[in-house]
Symmetry: C2
Subunit: 431 residues, 2 copies
Amino acid sequence: MTQLELARAETISPQMSLVAEREGLEAEFIRRGVAEGTIVIPANPGHKNLVPGGIGRELKTKVNANIGTSSDFGNIDTELEKLRVAIDCGADAVMDLSTGGDINAIRRAIVTASPVMIGTVPIYQAGIEAMNKRGAIVKMTVDDLFSSIEEHARDGVDFITVHCGTTRAAVEHLKKQGRVADVVSRGGAFLIGWMLHNERENPLYEYFDRLLDIAREFDVTLSLGDGMRPGCLADATDRPQIEELLAIGELVSKARQAGVQVMVEGPGHLPLNQIEANVQLEKSICQGAPFYVLGPLVTDVAAGYDHITGAIGGAIAAAAGTDFLCYVTPAEHLSLPDPEDVRQGVIASRIAAHAGDIVKGVKGAADWDRQMALARKKLDWEEQARLSLNPELARRVHGKHTSVGKACSMCGEYCAMELVEKYLGASVTRC
Amino acid sequence: MTQLELARAETISPQMSLVAEREGLEAEFIRRGVAEGTIVIPANPGHKNLVPGGIGRELKTKVNANIGTSSDFGNIDTELEKLRVAIDCGADAVMDLSTGGDINAIRRAIVTASPVMIGTVPIYQAGIEAMNKRGAIVKMTVDDLFSSIEEHARDGVDFITVHCGTTRAAVEHLKKQGRVADVVSRGGAFLIGWMLHNERENPLYEYFDRLLDIAREFDVTLSLGDGMRPGCLADATDRPQIEELLAIGELVSKARQAGVQVMVEGPGHLPLNQIEANVQLEKSICQGAPFYVLGPLVTDVAAGYDHITGAIGGAIAAAAGTDFLCYVTPAEHLSLPDPEDVRQGVIASRIAAHAGDIVKGVKGAADWDRQMALARKKLDWEEQARLSLNPELARRVHGKHTSVGKACSMCGEYCAMELVEKYLGASVTRC
């Protein structure tokens, strides 16, 4: 039985108990969330050393790091290094998006090495194998696609991105409305090319029941991908994107009926003031299914700094109710990320997630900041470092320039904290 | 006559014309904004090589970089290097906050070298000189303070931070309500110590007319500082902060009546969902005076990455109508920033400002992103670099890993843009 089926049968699974413990919440609360589909626990029983995590309503906002080779670059050792860095920096999930080298071996090595949930996009491999065997991605057969999906499930992958809502109807909207950047989702592009060449409906939509059978057998969580996600601000929240979301909403209901855990992917590139509406739309159309966004990026022009544009969008998205943030690295739009890019991406995304959690009222979130403020007030530098997202960095930057007093080298002798304590200390209420 | 007096006399000054040209707006629009006080042009006639810029309604959101020595660290050469880096990265203003070394010489060198507007906080120098001459900051006389202010004005400083609203009434609120981090503004701390020790009202409030006389003589724009700005999320939007804002609101009216240009400073540390309310409150209470925020920082725990927490808050603030962002560097809370910190801080803050400008509908903002999207669609890497915030970095990251095709090394052979162009290219509407 899947976590969803167990929850509906009023059973609290060991995974639900562990998630409850990690979140500081009641196990019954988690069970109820899983049963109604507002919480998912992507935990493939084949992923042996997984420490299960939950994604959804009232839980801490989670962070995913994409790693993986491309056809140009990358090998198994680098990918395992990226996995290690991502986990060290606090990533809650890692997606292996490899499209180069021995894809099967890389995925298996990552699943084996990872205590955090692993996601993949099986259509990449199906498309690439079709190219190798039959000469073109568009010559992929429906069976090729489903056997890739089954292979990933069998290998212990906890969640898979499947662009089931990228239908012919959405492509028609795309043709009519037009776009500046068309389609930037790789999975979406594979499928759109396939649909147009073969003049057939998206097999992930047409044979959704076949997908549900595999997902249910292995308790793989479906992450319904947005092949139509806007790839620039000018294309944000347009008709193809929303048509796809409508299709996804129906598939969420079907998946839940079949006992399959499901979450929904979202943009992408969005002007800052469209983020909240996108979150509300997903929550409404997809009946509270956990929302998993990429960024969102609030401007297109900051190549080299897209971990920052993604953190801006991610913080706003998380505060508005988004449950899961896919990081963006400084290499986005320019190059395959290396381990240092992974580090910068995870930290930026964790800042966004935490800033959102403070607003959401997630248990313990605001208290962390309060502890930091108290340590600052006391000029307790070791405690400040300990409470930092990256203690080692905090120590290094603080130690860069020595100070004559207790304060840091920014204000030296003229530290506001010290001055005010001297004159106001005794007379102020402590809160 | 000050810019404000000229504008009221229906005169379009050369400074107004230049600002109009830089913003792509009509000179009459700028004149009207200056006349009503929703736009300021900090342009001290003593700042000889200034290229004037405007701050306010419907103008591009501007970015300030704080530089300056501390008692622990820094010298004139490093500060001039920071100035150069800040300007190179696109800062619109630089504040010299020096509190160590030969403060007068550093300030004069910076004003002389800078084509962008320069701000200072004269009370730092007044307090430090009082300490040197009389043994304590609190022994500063009222004349000490005003002669420092006049000296800065005479040196060509374009705007000065004056914490005029940090009154005894605000201190009483602070004592009664209590805070976690009390006061983190240095100028505020100097004044609060002074008021408590001397049992007197804040001289910048009591003798505001004397301040206005100096400001009017040199056309120095007053930036009404927030000595009570919250130094942690737990203290945000509390009674001392709002009491101070009320006092500042009255002073804005007085300054305008006296023909003195004025803007208002704001927090600081704020939970993400309080930022918009803070902007609206300032705009309402201070009758549309340009708003100048520090960050805001949306979490306290990201020491070492506060350029990112500041970019999150700054983007939301700018989108909500904030006119001027003070950057925060990765060294914040830990150390005096060095030139590389200045670079990171300015870029992060420019991302925030631009993300806000897209939402505000600032002229040309969205079009920049559209040009970038078109260059991406064409896989035109040189054009993408040219349109980036930091072209040199974009080229370097893109060149890090070579790709076999036209796409970058992230997707290699499987670039969505290329795939979709092949199958969809002819049939899609171009927009």
